[in-house]
């Protein structure tokens, strides 16, 4: 093989491996964070496993480079094919292990928690293995492409390395851009994994055919490639079956007939819906994100917390909701006749697609009082400093999830406070974190609690029981009253909400013992043990 051909091949393979590696990093991370319920720190774990693989692979390449009698490009073809097989088998095998391990783990207590841990460890292991084989390519390319095994070209070494490295980086830059922005919105996780394995296999075959090798080696390589391709082709419907998301979500509880009712995978994450008689359950990137239910008696989604907003402000005309989810909360707010306008900021357009399957909630999309913005809540507030609201409502996700600091920090609360009209209220989910209430107490004069939620305002919460009751009775859904005093169960809910005492807990929480959540401290995400 001529020197220029070696160099061209080295640059092309380097670029392609960079492209596929970083694309796979995004795909695997998406699957991993979905399986890990987006817990804080999971990005670091996934990146760490991937980099350990790349680093370990480079060490493998180092060993290969010291063997002077082997052809570097043959080694590269082999590791690419192994990476293709590992990538293809990874998630289905992990899923099987999770189910098999269940029988053993159940003897050690919390099976679900242990099973999740085992599942994640194996998933990190798979990421490590894929990266390990891909990581072996770059250093061997430098050796094989350069071809100066006698060390006679000192001055060119740095430059040659930089070319191969830069080609790798070029692929690694375009890979996440194309995969993250385009491919992941169009193709499912199953299809992405299959496509990556196929690409690795094709690349491995191309390198094998271009490498200076004996005919026997080439024939052997083609046979191996054909066998792997056939295995993937026949194995895909059996091992995947379009149920990868279900496998990594339900883990040990996965059964062959387990299927999400709806699922949307886009660049902002994965929205999935599970059928349930008490209101279909919606999951936002692997974690509970509400149910499709408006009935305060069923209350399977704690929807009474949404109805309670009317008991905190006498005249809430302009409302801001950050985070739409299934739209049940927005429907409740719009069912309150005093509401004149509602602004909803949601970062993931996938929720709108899902809501369209639920006619009762989908009415919000055509309600003339509602406007929707697909944006990050914090950025939207920053870019709209003149917009003021009587009520800001956020059904915040769990306080231990990655990047939730952006919606719980002191800085964010002050930003929200600056968007409130006089007497305005900010109301959000603490998910039972006392640090969240403590942080609220640092910002607002009046801080009250309601069923896991906290409300902050610079005016007292002083609606009388009669006023609250009247407010609740005015709710109309589809023209019909939501609360019916003549019905015993409905009356029970009505009285509970009307009689809830809003006690200012600010001084109690300021007394100490809690952590302040700031953008800098990230307290709710990281200031507890990482396994919490």
């Amino acid at each position: 093989m001529s020197a220029s051909l070696r160099l061209t091949l080295a640059l092309a393979v380097s670029c392609a491996v960079g492209f596929i590696s970083l694309s796979l990093e995004i795909v695997w991370f998406s699957a991993f964070s979905f399986a890990a319920e987006s817990r804080a720190g999971m990005f670091g774990f996934a990146l760490g496993a991937f980099l350990f693989g790349i680093g370990g692979g480079a060490w493998l390449g180092f060993r290969q480079c010291s063997r002077k009698n082997t052809e570097p490009f043959l080694f590269i073809a082999a590791v690419l094919m192994i990476a293709a097989a590992v990538n293809f088998l990874g998630i289905p095998v992990i899923s099987k292990i999770a189910v098999l391990a269940d029988g053993i783990l159940v003897q050690f207590g919390n099976s679900r928690m242990l099973n999740t841990a085992v599942f994640l460890v194996f998933q990190l292991g798979s990421m490590f293995l894929v990266a390990f084989f891909l990581g072996g390519v770059l250093p061997v390319l430098c050796e094989g492409g350069f071809g100066d095994r006698d060390g006679n070209a000192d001055g060119l070494v740095g430059q040659f390395t930089s070319w191969v490295y830069a080609a790798n980086i070029l692929g690694a830059t375009t890979g996440p851009l194309l995969t993250g922005f385009v491919l992941m919105s169009r193709y499912s996780l199953d299809q992405m994994l299959l496509a990556a394995s196929t690409a690795l296999l094709v690349l491995g075959l191309a390198v094998l055919l271009a490498a200076p090798s004996r005919p026997r080696q080439k024939i052997g390589g083609v046979v191996v490639t054909a066998l792997l391709a056939a295995g993937m082709g026949f194995g895909y419907p059996v091992l995947y079956g379009g149920q990868t998301l279900e496998r990594i979500h339900f883990k040990n509880a996965f059964r062959p007939d387990t299927r999400f009712k709806h699922k949307v995978h886009n660049r902002s994450g994965i929205v999935a819906v599970q059928a349930d008689p008490r209101g279909d359950i919606i999951y936002g990137h692997g974690i509970y994100d509400g149910r499709f239910n408006l009935d305060p008696i069923i209350d399977s989604n704690g929807i009474t917390r949404a109805y309670a907003f009317a008991t905190m402000h006498r005249n809430p005309k302009d409302i801001l909701e950050i985070g739409l989810s299934g739209g049940s909360w927005a429907r409740v707010v719009l069912d309150y006749p005093k509401v004149k306008s509602m602004t909803v900021v949601e970062i993931n357009p996938g929720y709108f697609e899902v809501i369209k399957n639920y006619p009762e909630n989908a009415t919000i999309l055509n309600d003339p009082r509602a406007t929707f913005h697909i944006d990050d809540g914090r950025r939207w507030l920053n870019r709209n400093p003149d917009r003021k609201f009587d009520f800001i409502l956020i059904n915040t996700t769990f306080h231990w999830r990655e990047n939730i600091t952006n919606l719980l920090s002191e800085e964010f609360l002050r930003l929200g406070q600056a968007h409130l009209n006089p007497g305005g209220v900010m109301y959000w989910n603490t998910t039972d974190s006392k640090d969240v209430i403590f942080t609220a107490s640092k910002v607002f004069e009046y801080v009250v609690r309601f069923a896991g939620f906290v409300a902050g305002s610079d005016s007292p919460f002083d609606m009388t029981i009669a006023e609250k009751r009247q407010a609740l009775l005015s709710y109309r859904n589809n023209g019909k009253p939501v609360f019916r005093p003549e019905d015993e169960k409905s009356r029970e809910v009505l009285e509970r909400l009307s009689n809830h005492p809003f006690v200012n807990v600010r001084d109690e929480f300021l007394a100490g013992g809690h952590r302040l959540i700031t953008d800098d401290s990230m307290a709710s995400e990281f200031k507890r043990p990482w396994w919490y």
Binding site: F52, G55, C65, E143, L170, E411
Partner: protein, 209 residues
């Protein structure tokens, strides 16, 4: 010279590159979080940070290749300067990003990502330039390209990998975001200082760096 430079160049410098990789990934994770507060928690932020790191590392690598040819006799000096540049940028990075965010708040949405991209390109290019420079230096000592690349690349990557776990399990738990970035800058300055000592010892021994 043989007695001193061989263990220093093939082991000592390699470990310094391990530390350098640790600092780089701390910056990546920490800057990503800072950008989330500027751009929002979305794929655009992730893309900006991944792209700027890739762009910086790639262009820096090309520049490093040129530098390794031009300053072939003073490669450790170049490495030292690059580490200081990265550390110094780390020190001012958080206030700088916040200042730029405030300054571009009401400009078109595309302006802030472009400005941030331009700013972060400086330290990431410096990071990218370090690999070819050290490869050239080690190759001068060992005459094995693949081994030089593999050793440095694997150590740098393993440092980065270890740093991922260190950042989310230890640093973010016991430090804040700003002090985590300060910690990374201290690593760069430590590496710079150790390279400086290495060069001084070579000079004392009468050997070329």
């Amino acid at each position: 010279m043989t007695k001193m430079s061989k263990p220093l160049s093939s082991r000592w410098l390699v470990w310094l590159f391990f530390l350098s990789g640790m600092a780089a990934i701390i910056y990546q994770i920490a800057w990503q979080r800072v950008l989330f507060t500027s751009f929002g928690v979305n794929i655009e932020s992730v893309t900006i940070i991944v792209s700027v790191f890739m762009f910086g590392l790639g262009v820096g690598s090309l520049l490093g290749g040129q530098l390794s040819k031009k300053y072939f006799d003073t490669l450790p000096h170049i490495f030292l300067i690059l580490e200081i540049v990265i550390g110094a940028f780390g020190l001012i990075s958080m206030p700088l990003i916040k200042w730029v965010t405030l300054g571009t708040l009401h400009m078109p949405l595309l302006v802030l990502p472009l400005v941030i991209f331009g700013i972060l390109a400086v330290p990431t290019m410096a990071m990218g330039a370090t690999l070819p420079i050290l490869v050239a230096y080690l190759h001068r000592k060992t005459h094995l390209v693949g081994q030089s690349v593999s050793t440095l690349y694997s150590m740098n990557t393993l440092g980065s990998a270890l740093s991922c776990f260190l950042t989310v399990i230890v640093l973010f738990r016991f430090l804040n975001l700003s002090t985590t970035i300060l910690f990374a800058a201290l690593i760069n300055f430590t590496v710079g200082y150790l390279v400086f000592r290495y060069m001084r010892e070579l000079k004392k021994a009468g050997a070329a760096p």
